[in-house]
């Protein structure tokens, strides 16, 4: 796939605060790419620069090799699905979708044909004459998508489009968006702070934090091979511990030497070690590579979530077998379950579950969602 959009050294500040810092990224034609990160990481600003609603302070924005940094939004072949949909309240569903075609003075029967087809694609046939204010959130969402797609843009930008929908509808719309993207084969650039959404929909995920790109990769890469502590923590659950790389494929952490599959580090280099909670096996203390005392057990449906204290560091383990609180257990970790990362500015900030509680986690998620 050819490079369609290219960002070169893009920077942007608001009121002297750097929101984007020298971003380099290319986006291929026809891919579903997601910009993922917590609020304030710069992902929306990046989308707005691509859409033409902001201009970068530094750097270049290329579309098929030509600089479009100063091309106004209405001349770009890039359309946006806005967070709050931005449907025009003075127009009905049909006229909202026909809006871009009317601007281009497309012939009336042509308009009718295309709008009807589009309504069919987003499963809203029969809604033509409804006022947009009477539609539900999900329906408004579909109209916004139809309206953005009707003039055959090369790229569709979606800014947290599912943020306002409830969980069930979110899941349905995720599938639907993916289907639409496959069907029409254009590039989707999707912004979200929801890691699950990003992993399940995207061809490529771009993880961002503090105005910088932390990692670019496929969902599996991002999950299995996180580049630093931030990515490891933001995507899924992770135990992140300090380790020393003794030599290739030998790492020491929690006072134990483990076999692993990574290499290429200097001798005795300090590293961050990631172990996903589902990759840890619970065994008899005598057979365990590490041993510790269970501090809490929570039933989660599919598995139990077990917090274990190992030398003062709390690990999270997901296991289908029940263990009693306060019991001593052993942990067994396969070499390929251990992932080694270089130290970064995020080291030591994430991956310890000592202050972990479900409630806190949910609270911070809600806060995150509210800020949008």
């Amino acid at each position: 796939m050819a490079k369609l959009i290219e960002l070169k050294g893009l920077s942007k500040s608001f009121d002297g605060e750097k929101v984007l810092n020298a971003i380099d990224l290319y986006i291929r034609d026809g891919e579903f790419i997601t910009l993922l990160g917590p609020s304030g990481c710069g992902k929306t600003t990046m989308l707005r620069i691509i859409g033409g609603f902001e201009t970068a302070d530094e750097g270049r924005l290329l579309f098929e090799g030509t600089d479009i940094g100063h091309v106004p939004a209405y001349k770009r072949h890039i359309n946006t699905v806005f967070q709050k949909y931005a449907l025009f309240p003075h127009l009905n569903v049909y006229e909202n979708i026909a809006f871009p075609l009317r601007l281009k003075k497309v012939k009336e029967d042509d308009i009718q044909q295309r709008v009807t087809d589009m309504l069919k694609m987003v499963a809203l046939s029969g809604f033509e004459n409804k006022s947009v204010s009477t539609l539900s959130g999900g329906q408004q969402q579909r109209v916004a998508i139809a309206r953005a797609l009707i003039s055959h843009p090369r790229v569709l930008l979606l800014d947290e489009p599912l943020g306002a929908l409830d969980l069930k509808l979110r899941k349905d719309m995720q599938n639907e968006l993916k289907t639409i993207q496959k069907a029409i084969g254009i590039t989707f650039i999707y912004v979200t702070h929801d890691q699950e959404e990003a992993l399940s929909m995207s061809d490529t995920v771009v993880v961002m934090a503090d105005g910088e790109i932390q990692q670019i990769g496929t969902p599996t890469d991002i999950y299995n091979e996180p580049k630093n502590a931030f990515v490891a923590d933001f995507i899924g659950e992770s135990n992140i511990v300090d380790g020393i790389m003794l030599e290739d494929k030998k790492v020491k952490f929690s006072s134990h030497i483990f076999d692993c599959v990574d290499g290429g580090f200097a001798k005795n280099e300090a590293v961050d070690v990631v172990v996903r909670p589902e990759d840890v096996d619970v065994v008899e203390p005598s057979r365990g590579m590490l041993t510790g005392q269970v501090t809490s057990v929570t039933f989660k449906g599919v598995h139990y979530e077990i917090i274990v204290d190992i030398g003062g560091f709390k690990w999270m383990i997901q296991s289908t077998d029940y263990v009693a609180p306060d019991a001593y257990i052993g942990l067994y970790i396969e070499p390929d379950a251990i992932h080694i990362m270089k130290k970064s500015k995020y080291s030591g900030k994430f991956g310890d579950y000592s202050s972990f509680s479900d409630e806190l986690d949910r609270l911070s998620d809600a806060e995150l969602a509210e800020e949008f």
Binding site: A73, Y74, N79, T80, F82, K84, F88, H90, L103
Partner: protein
């Protein structure tokens, strides 16, 4: 004009009673005076029922039409000048908008008599303008002067509701329009203008109603050559011909309430259009 949003509720008597003073007040001082106007309009000076006042109104048809002509022109000019101003104000940087609104409010809160009188002093035959230019222009007493006075006095009433309406339009609306292929001019014509009709309607009423009924502006700037409908009512009031005055007031009220009702049909009265 703004309609208030009243949610559906079961009445609870103890609380509803709080509205009682207001209901009494409204009946005594809003409804009753209107009934009195009607009563005066349909009686003669001795208090006998009579249709002569209403029948005699045909004498004032020309005055009615002249008032209508001048106030419609003034309203149109206000809209023409005011809409771009309101738009530019709404597009100005946030911190400057406050200042601009204040700049608009100051003349609005300055008494109408003062403003009208000072224009007269400027435009008068031996006034400031003629002295300044060393000319002998005769402006006072022309239709133009009266229209200018109306525009000058009531322009802020046009600008403010439109400004409020435009500045409330979500930023995403502009962006979406632009994103879908509107040039900046098309954004205004296809999206902003339709979305600000409620502001325009309330601006138009707020200019039309006072200018059609004014008597001070025509007294000062009309130089005694014009009699508008407001002047007629005022003259009847001063000379004590209250029955004729009431008849004219009654007809004027009917016409204005009717046209307001028609105008409100064109817009959703519930949204936008804040009255200052």
């Amino acid at each position: 004009m703004q309609q208030l949003d009243i949610p559906k509720k079961k009445p609870s008597f103890m609380r509803t009673i709080a509205a009682a003073p207001h209901i009494v007040w409204a009946v005594m001082f809003i409804v009753l005076p209107l009934i009195v106007v009607v009563w005066y309009a349909f009686t003669d000076a001795e208090g006998h029922v009579s249709f002569e006042n209403i029948a005699g109104l045909s004498d004032y048809a020309d005055t009615f039409l002249l008032s209508l002509e001048l106030s419609v022109i003034a309203t149109f000019v206000c809209l023409l000048i005011g809409y771009p101003l309101a738009y530019m104000m709404a597009r100005a940087p946030k911190h400057r908008q406050k200042f601009l609104v204040m700049l608009l409010m100051l003349p609005m809160w300055t008494n109408l008599l003062i403003r009208t009188y000072s224009i007269m002093a400027i435009l008068d035959d031996g006034g400031f303008l003629n002295t300044l230019l060393g000319t002998d222009l005769h402006i006072i007493g022309t239709k133009g002067a009266v229209i200018f006075g109306m525009v000058y006095d009531f322009l802020p009433y046009m600008v403010l509701p439109i400004y409020t309406c435009i500045s409330k339009i979500d930023r995403h609306m502009w962006e979406a329009a632009e994103d879908l292929g509107c040039t900046p001019f098309q954004v205004i014509r296809k999206v902003i203008l339709p979305l600000s009709t409620s502001g325009v309607v309330s601006g138009v009423t707020m200019v039309l109603v006072p200018s059609i009924s004014t008597f001070y502006i025509s007294q000062k700037l009309g130089g005694g050559t014009f009699e508008l409908i407001g002047d007629t009512i005022e003259r009847q009031f001063v000379s004590g011909a209250l029955n004729t005055g009431a008849a004219i007031s009654f007809i004027m009220m009917l016409l204005i309430l009717l046209s307001l009702a028609i105008m409100n049909r064109f817009t959703d009265a519930d949204e936008g259009g804040v009255i200052v």
